[in-house]
Symmetry: C2
Subunit: 327 residues, 2 copies
């Protein structure tokens, strides 16, 4: 119920997902029951694999993330996470308040054994394909061992989901040399270098879009700022194009022609394509979506959650950390 | 001598600058004397306001920034900074090793009284004009009082050089609320809020290109990564366009047409336009240029240095901090 277009996008996306995979998916739509049933009825969607679970409260974008488990226990978000906690569901997805979803998931589901800190990984397009940036804002700072864990989780995610053999891991830093950076990155470099991960060393801001590494590790402060900056770059391009259309008929025609090309160029940054991003390290499958998620994005989030469950990503993370603990 | 195209770009840029302002500029070209004189002769540039100062050594991009004052005291960079130290010159510019230029400038010239830490500010284009990002890598981390100082110096720079009345200052953070961020940003928010600066609060990664603030404050780690990421975004656009040209004749033609528009769109990110960026807080005017500086960029760096001298930016910073010290 917390997304910008909730519950419309959520219900429509769920109908599509449930229709496409009637035998393997069973969906609980958690939220205001009457509204959800109304939407299902409007669409004539009487699907056996969709059940509605009533949750009267809604967590808004203004709610303080860490308070909502107490202040709004009957919110759609908390009730959905409880379904996972009670083993009634295998995973939860949300397009609502990211901070609240992160905090409530960790609080209710706990962390995967061996994981000190969960992370939100964001997928971004590169010149070679797709890379994962961890962390993009689950926590504002982190220690060196957390960066190592992000490397482990990101590596397992990218190899299982994107089928990349031995994903290359880069540590985001201000220079290539081992001695560069702040205390945390210098220490993390040592941990990663001595690990079994495919660590390729430091990567700089200029290396990200070149796809130098499949996974880019950083603290949540840097990652969050970088992600939002990247999204806004696309916005600036569009804004400049619109500005040009005001300069006369030929410019307008020209912009019309150019727009399609621009869309191809920057389209990779449209993360509805991937639906949502995983909250890695939480002991349960949780997919975080954009507030503006479309029905297509919701459908893809559902499929991504299903994939994470069937490929047992969390079990793989637990086993890897058990075999390769930090001293 | 340390720039990628040195000393050619440097000498050609200096000839242009000296020719344009024969009455107000006096330039010392510091480096390998024979090579510089050869270049001047090739161009028939026998200008009265250009003098050559011999410096046999060259600091390379591989040299450790903090060692070069000892290992290469006779480098063009160190000899040039000495001219400022000895009051023979009013300012120094360099397209060489940024870290070495920063370290040597601070070491030899000291800091402006009241400044705890100098900063490199980078200019970037926004939807509204030009903003300044401080710090972009003079130091990897900083304390809250340093961010306040960056705000003071950035504010004076933008008001004097870009003629912006009461420049708006934003603190780069992961959210708008005062409570967001890490320890340093939370503390810095308080300092800025209680200052006389035109502090507009936190700005997010998505606000930068919108030009929400004229000055964006952050630590050098985040700023450096962000700056390099922004530059590489332009690179990705070009790379994708080139890729499209390989898909056939019509695409090729199309790309030829689109290139000009693209240049207009992303051209603002070409910082040769501004020539270089100031090293603010050092007790002497120092302008840092890109390794790939063209003659035009060098010329603009010289003019910017002259402007900083004539507008007495450093004196204004000293006076502001004397009147508005932190408790």
């Amino acid at each position: 119920m917390g997304g910008d277009f909730a519950p419309n996008s959520e219900v429509l996306g769920a109908i599509d997902a449930a229709s496409e995979k009637p035998d393997t998916l069973e969906l609980y739509l958690v939220g205001k029951e009457s509204r959800i049933k109304e939407l299902l009825k409007e669409r004539n969607a009487f699907l056996e694999n969709i059940k509605v679970v009533d949750a009267p409260d809604v967590i808004s974008m203004e709610d303080s993330p860490t308070d909502t488990h107490k202040s709004k226990p009957n919110s759609s978000m908390n009730v959905a996470i409880n379904l996972v906690k009670d083993k009634k569901a295998d995973g939860a997805i949300s397009a609502g308040n990211t901070g609240a979803f992160t905090a409530n998931s960790i609080l209710k589901l706990g962390r995967i054994p061996g994981v000190g800190r969960p992370t939100i990984g964001a997928l971004f397009p590169t010149d070679k394909g797709t890379s994962l940036l961890c962390d993009v804002g689950a926590f504002v700072d982190c220690r060196a061992n957390h960066l190592y864990e992000f490397g482990v989780m990101g590596s397992i995610y990218m190899s299982h989901i994107f089928k990349i053999d031995k994903p290359k891991i880069g540590l985001l830093n201000v220079g290539e040399e081992k001695s560069k950076g702040n205390e945390v990155t210098i220490e993390a470099y040592k941990l990663l270098e001595n690990s079994k991960l495919n660590f390729i060393g430091n990567v700089e801001g200029s290396d990200l879009l070149k796809g130098k590494s499949d996974i880019v590790l950083c603290d949540g402060f840097t990652g969050n700022i970088l992600l939002k900056f990247g999204e806004s770059f696309v916005w600036l391009m569009k804004s400049k194009l619109i500005h040009m259309t005001e300069e006369g008929f030929f410019k307008k025609l020209w912009v019309g022609l150019i727009s399609e090309t621009m869309r191809n160029l920057v389209g990779g940054f449209d993360y509805q394509k991937h639906g949502g991003v995983p909250l890695l390290g939480v002991n349960g499958v949780c997919i975080v979506g954009h507030g503006k998620s479309s029905p297509l994005a919701i459908k893809n989030m559902i499929f991504r959650a299903e994939e994470m469950v069937s490929k047992e990503i969390n079990k793989a993370i637990e086993e890897y950390l058990k075999l390769n603990p930090l001293n």
